[in-house]
Amino acid sequence: MKVKDVKKLYCLGIESSADDFGIGISSFDGTILSNAVDAYVPTEGGIHPREAARHHAEVSSKVLSKALETSGVEPQDLSVIAFSQGPGLGPCLRTGATVARALSSYLGIPLVGVNHCVAHIEIGKLKTGIKNPLTLYVSGGNTLVAAFDSGKYRVFGETLDIALGNCLDVFAREAGLRQKQGMPFGAVVEKLAQKGKELAKLPYTVKGMDVSFSGLLTAAVTAFKKGQYDVEDLCFSLQETAFSMVTEVTERALAHTGKKEALLTGGVAANKRLQSMIRSIAEEHEARFEVVPKEFAMDNGAMVAWTGVLAYTNGSVTPVDESQVRLRWRLEEADVNWIK
């Protein structure tokens, strides 16, 4: 059999686990050819899963066309379709999975279900050149500290309740802040925090290598409603407290695992203050520190495409009857047979 040039083999990846609908195309040698995304912005309140899923369905063909056009790859040149199989919001995941099954069946090429958290780590490794990191993954839906050990990504620390990004978002909403296109709540909070001076006393909850944000969120919202502090001071205090907590557990995990690389990813990774904190502990432990570039740190299709390449080229395919979405698919349950 004649082996095709890996540069001319392509995987299309679909990400739809939460509010972003993304499609990316990666060649088998890890060149990201396109990374199209369309974000659902709720008119008020948080993400309503069904509304977000409706958005995903509506924009799917537009995002698909854009991903194909940008990449210059024709549909018949694709070798495999990857999709984010979980964890995430059910209706949203199902929309992406439906598009993936349709494409796979229409083009007659295999389907590969990818773990969303694994994809975040793999694209981070690809884009930063890091090989074996301790990863802090912080987003609206996830907060975890993980590293590879004996065949799996092991979760050393995580949130016991809500995610870090969720904590910042809900505070912003409760404080009446407005998010704009291109400036999500996290960025609004970060900007206000830069003007904050006074550190409010808020609960700092670290349990072992895990953290808890719900008490912190309640205290910050209560302090705002009572008018005890300016909103700038509260944004500052919320960030300082929450980021110190995740930094402390990341440092614990770094000391515990002895890893010599630290990777920061997820939507909250764009925050400069958090970056400086994680950089500080990485330096302390003589570990190399990298932040995943924003486009690939947020939820995106390229990470799914690249992880699809890794899985597929190591023999993994997902038959359609095993392609149901997995809402609570834990990182350590996922097979990562490409890491030897």
């Binding site: 016991l160 309740d161 290598m209 402390e248 515990h256 400086s276 994680i278």
Partner: protein
Amino acid sequence: MDKVKQPLLLGKGAEANLYLAEWHGRKVVLKKRLPKKYRPTALDEQIRAYRTVHEPQLMHEAKKAGVPTPIIFLVDRKNTTIIMEYIEGRQIKQLLNEVSKHDRQSLCFGIGESVGKLHEYGVIHGDLTTSNFIQDRNGKVFFLDFGLGEKTKEVEARGVDLHLMKRALQSTHYDFADECFESAIEGYSTAMNTEASKNVFRKISEIEKRGRYIVERKDTN
């Protein structure tokens, strides 16, 4: 802090540096909580001072509960340093990987029993990882690192404490985590009445069902 001779760095943890030193003719461990540059000074000082004072208090309570902990000789709040007895022995983290299945189970049973005694007495350890247990030459298992602990008899806190222990076993001793945790649970049950321990076990599964810890729940497509 005077009279400390020849401090030798034993280990650099995330939270504190540990030194082996001589103090009034004794071998002691100095646990010094160092400033963390990443967090604001006020928050950092508050956390370090609190844990420095809080940890020896809980270690003292643990002894009253019948769980061995190192003797505290000195608490220096200003320098956020604790001077305590040096326990010569081995970390359970290493031992678990070396001993027979039978010994592993009895070690875990004993640790579970100690955790039960702590909880029964109203002490939550807060960081039940196997690197925080040391077995001395006589086979006695000492509990260390109470810095994240608290004094409470709440079922929720007990449940979280055991849940964290389970997770620590899973991330570090994945090959026999379940078997170890089961033995620990058996030991735990012997330290308090059935009703109380059942409440804690119910709480653990409730904590796990909060969403992030299970895959078994059937997803509807």
